[in-house]
Structures are given as structure tokens and as C-alpha cells.
């Protein structure tokens, strides 16, 4: 094996046989070795070979960074979605590869050179835009959450934040304001809705009020500093801040301006809420304010003494105004500290440092958003709606601390 060339010719990685590297059990870290085709690859090394990192040269710089092999945050996939591991994350930006997914017939493979967006209908000048065209427009960058409105699960005390509401994630999105493009095509003042359509195997469609297009809708092509990922709509997607995720059509290929909504399958038979009076509520766009404690939460183990209770809170209707914590199952509430800056329609971190005496108790969080909406209890929602789940279901989540340090979902 040849040493790997680098900027500093005096530093050379240790020569280790590939067989030796791969032969050990319990992969513990990474070193670089040269593959037969003269390209550096990262290979696992056993713990035994790494007892003292000061006695072995480290890994030279690489083309793409990797997580420590000691850290294994993963999404939890089903046939139709994959959930963000909220309990394993810090801060409020979701790593792009851990952003939740909800697809309606898989992730399409799209060559951006062959992908086009057609904008037509009630416009003066219908146009076709490519990814390269979109990147020429003035760009806008904004940090926002994106949440699937079908994001509530219960049924076991052994559910993690990922299981309960892992269909919410946050990114820094970059793209172009839809209003910039609306001006160019000359939207007819009589147009009240537009249809957005994806280029996936579900040819996903949603109707969106034109006023949202003029307000804060974007077409985004980048996420957290790089091109948007295929699972998130590569080469570009619609992004509607604060609206239920299904409407932010991925793999966007068509926008049609119209004077009526289309009442597509998703916005009638799926993303609607049966109410207790037999009615069905539709076009529920805004994500209701919600919070969840992500630590301590199942499956964490805690010890008595000081505990920093942490979590995230968000609202599709604006900013988080405040988060309160209860350490006695909702009997009394105390304001948590919010981690600034507090952004519009964005996951906002909160903290509350508390001393646990080791006796069984229940932790809860509740958010108030800037409209004055207070996150309801589960029972308040059930009473108001007559259902125990469904879309836009955002109850307070409680965590039981057991004397042995286990943390379990309350009323799971």
C-alpha cells in the first residue's frame, strides 16, 4: 500500500492491512486506508486497536464527513414514512439525512437537467422553469419547521418522541419566493387557488390559496447549505411555512392557477378531520402549536438530582410566545427558558432546570403561541373533536419518571 498523499508530506497514515481492519468485532472508530483502486476509504477499526488515540496517527482529511461510529441516530421507517429521532437531536436544525419523510409512492430519481416546472392556468404568460432558472432569481433563506399533520401516535408507554411525533423536522431552506415568480407570469387577479403537482409516482396534488403564494410561499432547492435531498423533493419543492407538510409538494413539476380549488384526493379523503357533530373539517392548513419534552423522554434513563428538561415547541401560526413546564402532572406550571432567536413558524428550543427528588412524578410541557393559543390536553382535544387522534392532533405529552429512573409515556 502506498501512503496517501496530502498537503503535509511528512504525515503518513499507519499501514494496516484491510484484513486486520475488517477482521475485528465491535467496530469502534474510523481510520483511512487506501483501497485497491487507489482511493481512500473509511474502514472500521476495533476498540482494541484504539485504546490510546494519542499513540496512533489520526484520520487525514476526507471528502465527506461522517458521524462518529459511537453515535447512531436513525430515522424510523415504515412503508409510507420515516420519523426523525427527536430524542437524539440537539438544538433545532434537523440534520438533512434525519429529516422525516412521508411519501405517497416512493422517492423518485430525478435528473435535474431533464426536470421542468410548468406554471400555467390563469396567468398572462405561462412559463417553464428549470433548476438553473430558479437559481438565477434573488434567493431567500429561511429557517422553518415542516410537519406532517398526521403526527400523533399513542398506545404504549414505551413510545419515544420519534414514535409519538417524529414527523416534524426543521431546516434552513433556500430558494425563491413564489411571489417573485407570480409577478413574472402575471397572475390573473381573479385567480384564487393554485394547484401544485409533484413528479413522483403518486403525481401528488394539493390546492393552495393564491394568497399564500403572495404571502410567504417559496420554491426551495437547498436545505441546510446543500442541494435539497431526494427524500425532500430534489431538485426542488414547494415550501409553505406553517402549513401541513403534505401541501409543500415535493419534486414540483406543475403549478396551475385557478378560480376554484380542485378538491383532490389528499385534501378530501385523507387530510381532513371528522368532528363530533358528524361534520368533516377540510382545508385545515395551519399547524396548531405544539411542544414536546425530548429529554427526559422514553427510552432515556435518569438519575435523581439536577435534570435539565429540554424540548422543542412550534406553531404554524407564528412565533412561540412561551413554554411552561409542569413537574407535577399538570397541577402547577413554570416558565421555561426559550433558546433564541425565536423565529416565525420554527421549532424553538426550551429548557427548564429542575431537581428531581427521585419520587415518581410526571413531566409535561405546553406552548402558547403569539396568537394566544394554548396547547390543549389530550382530554380537551378529545372532548372538542370527539376523536382520539387523526390529523392536526397536538396534545400535551406527559412523561412519567419512575423511581428506578425509567421514563415512560403517560397515558401511553
Amino acid at each position: 500500500m502506498k501512503p496517501i498523499s496530502g498537503e503535509n508530506p511528512t504525515l503518513q497514515p499507519i499501514k494496516v492491512s484491510r484484513r486486520k481492519l475488517l477482521g475485528g468485532a465491535a467496530a469502534a472508530a474510523l481510520v483511512l486506508v487506501e483501497a485497491p483502486f487507489a482511493r481512500a476509504v473509511q474502514v472500521a477499526v476495533t476498540q482494541a486497536e484504539l485504546t490510546d488515540p494519542t499513540k496512533i496517527p489520526g484520520v487525514p482529511p476526507g471528502q465527506v464527513g461522517t458521524r462518529s461510529t459511537f453515535e447512531k441516530p436513525v430515522k424510523k421507517p415504515s412503508n409510507i414514512s420515516s420519523r426523525t429521532p427527536l430524542q437524539d437531536l440537539f438544538g433545532t436544525i434537523t440534520p438533512s439525512d434525519l429529516h422525516f419523510e412521508r411519501n405517497h409512492n416512493g422517492v423518485p430519481a430525478i435528473d435535474p437537467a431533464k426536470h421542468e416546472l410548468v406554471i400555467h392556468g390563469m396567468v398572462e404568460k405561462p412559463i417553464v422553469l428549470t433548476l438553473a432558472d430558479l437559481k438565477r432569481f434573488p434567493s431567500v433563506t429561511r429557517i422553518c419547521f415542516l410537519e406532517c399533520s398526521g403526527n400523533f401516535r399513542s398506545g404504549s408507554e414505551k413510545l419515544s418522541p420519534q414514535d409519538i411525533c417524529g414527523l416534524t423536522s426543521q431546516s434552513e431552506w433556500t430558494g425563491v419566493m413564489l411571489s417573485t415568480i407570480f409577478r413574472q407570469v402575471g397572475v390573473d387577479p381573479k385567480a384564487t387557488w393554485f394547484l401544485a403537482e409533484g413528479s413522483d409516482a403518486a403525481v401528488m396534488t394539493r390546492s393552495i390559496p393564491v394568497r399564500k403564494g403572495w404571502d410567504d410561499a417559496m420554491i426551495v432547492y437547498a436545505q441546510n447549505g446543500e442541494a435539497i435531498r431526494p427524500e425532500q423533493g430534489y431538485p426542488f419543492r414547494l415550501f409553505l411555512p406553517g402549513y401541513e407538510g403534505n401541501m409543500s409538494i415535493k419534486w414540483l413539476r406543475r403549478i396551475e392557477l385557478s378560480d376554484a380549488p380542485y378538491l383532490t384526493r389528499e385534501e378530501t379523503s385523507k387530510y381532513t378531520e371528522p368532528l363530533k357533530d358528524g361534520k368533516i373539517r377540510y382545508f385545515s392548513f395551519d399547524i396548531d402549536a405544539r411542544s414536546i419534552i425530548t429529554f427526559p423522554a422514553y427510552p432515556a434513563q435518569v438519575q435523581k438530582g439536577w435534570i435539565e428538561i429540554r424540548g422543542i415547541a412550534w406553531s404554524g401560526r407564528g412565533k412561540v410566545q412561551g413554554v411552561e413546564i409542569s413537574t407535577d402532572a399538570g397541577k402547577s406550571w413554570h416558565p421555561a427558558s426559550l433558546n433564541g432567536p425565536i423565529l416565525d413558524k420554527a421549532h424553538t428550543g426550551f429548557r427548564y432546570v429542575w431537581q428531581w427528588d427521585g419520587r415518581e412524578t410526571e413531566l409535561q410541557s405546553r406552548v402558547t403561541d403569539e396568537t394566544g393559543y394554548l396547547q390543549p390536553t389530550y382530554q380537551e382535544l378529545v372532548t372538542a373533536r370527539g376523536s382520539k387522534g387523526g390529523y392536526h392532533f397536538n396534545p400535551i405529552t406527559g412523561w412519567i419518571l419512575k423511581p428506578d429512573g425509567r421514563v415512560l409515556l403517560s397515558n401511553g
Binding site: 405517497h104 409512492n105 421542468e116 410548468v118 406554471i119 400555467h120 404568460k125 405561462p126 412559463i127 417553464v128 422553469l129 428549470t130 432558472d133 430558479l134 438565477r136 432569481f137 434573488p138 417573485t180 409577478r183 413574472q184 394547484l195 403537482e197 409516482a201 403518486a202 403525481v203 396534488t205 413539476r253 406543475r254 396551475e256 385557478s258 376554484a260 380549488p261 380542485y262 378538491l263 383532490t264 384526493r265 378530501t268 379523503s269 381532513t272 368532528l275 358528524g278 361534520k279 368533516i280 373539517r281 377540510y282 382545508f283 385545515s284 392548513f285 395551519d286 396548531d288 401560526r317 403561541d369 396568537t371 394566544g372 393559543y373 394554548l374 390543549p376 380537551e380 382535544l381 372538542a384
Partner: protein, 188 residues
Amino acid sequence: MMNAIIKITVSVVLLSWASGFRSFPKPSPASGIGSDTIFNFGRPATQADIQRWDIDVRPDGKGLPGGSGTARKGKTIFAQKCAACHGLTGVEGPSDKLVSTDSSQVKAIGNYWPYATTVFDYIRRAMPFNQPGTLTDEEVYSLTAFLLEANQILKPGTELNAQTLPAVQMPALKKYILDDRTGGPIIR
């Protein structure tokens, strides 16, 4: 090195002076960019560009293609292309149950869908799941007729086409109410 530092210092001082001692002047309106600027990127869409993808159908029938279909033809197509996921009569699964007239049961076309045109639009764009977009318009009309008849919405033998489909009244439509929540302290 020292020369470079002096040069940079001099430049900074000159720049500060030139901009009235503000280190970062605001963008000048003279750049010509305004909130109403039109950039004219992309290319005009031709009729062909639009027609290749414009398959949506509205409840008023706008977008429905020519052709027609019947439940009798639809039953045969359903058995061949749909029954593997939905069962021979649309209730057996394993995928979504499509037939039910009982509102206490799980959501199906008969008890939950507000517009018949949506059935046509969805089948045409997204079904069959493993071969989406492969059905002819005649097949989609026939499958729509089969499902509406099975849900006891369509009189047996009715031919569906661009005129008759939008006229179909769905029982669930009267249940639909618009979301009127705008935040504030109310829980609904």
C-alpha cells in the same frame, strides 16, 4: 506582510470616507431592484408543454377528457388491475377500503368522499399503485363507474362521461365544513 496590512488599512479608511464613514452602505436604489421587479427567467410555455401534464380535474368537470365508461366494464378491469390490493369488491383490502355506505365505518368513497370527480382524477394520476398512469381514459371512467355503483351512488347501468360524472351527487358532501380556526385561545 506589513505592506499588505498598510494597504488594507488605507483601503478601509478610504472606503469608510467614500461611504460617509458607514462601513456597509445600504444597497442603493440605483441598482434598479425593486419589490416589483420582473426577471423574465425561464422560457414561455407552449401548449405542448402544458398539455403533456395538465391532467387535473375539478369538481365542476373542468379537465375531464372525452370518452366514457360503465360499471360492467369497470368490474372486469378492477378484477385484473385493482383487486390484488383492494379485494374483488373493494372492501377486502389489504389496501384502502373503497366501498362503504355506512358513515360509522372507516373512510371509503361512499361515506367520505365529497366529489365524484376526485375518484376519476386520483385513479388516472396515481393508480394502479405499481403501474401508475397506465390506464386509458375509458378504463378510468369505467373504474369510476364501478366504484360509484358499488357504493350505491350511481344507478346501475349509468354511463359516465365528462357530462354525467360532475353531476353525480356524493352523500358526504353535506358534511364538509371549511376550517375557520385562526388561532387564539379556543380549542376546536
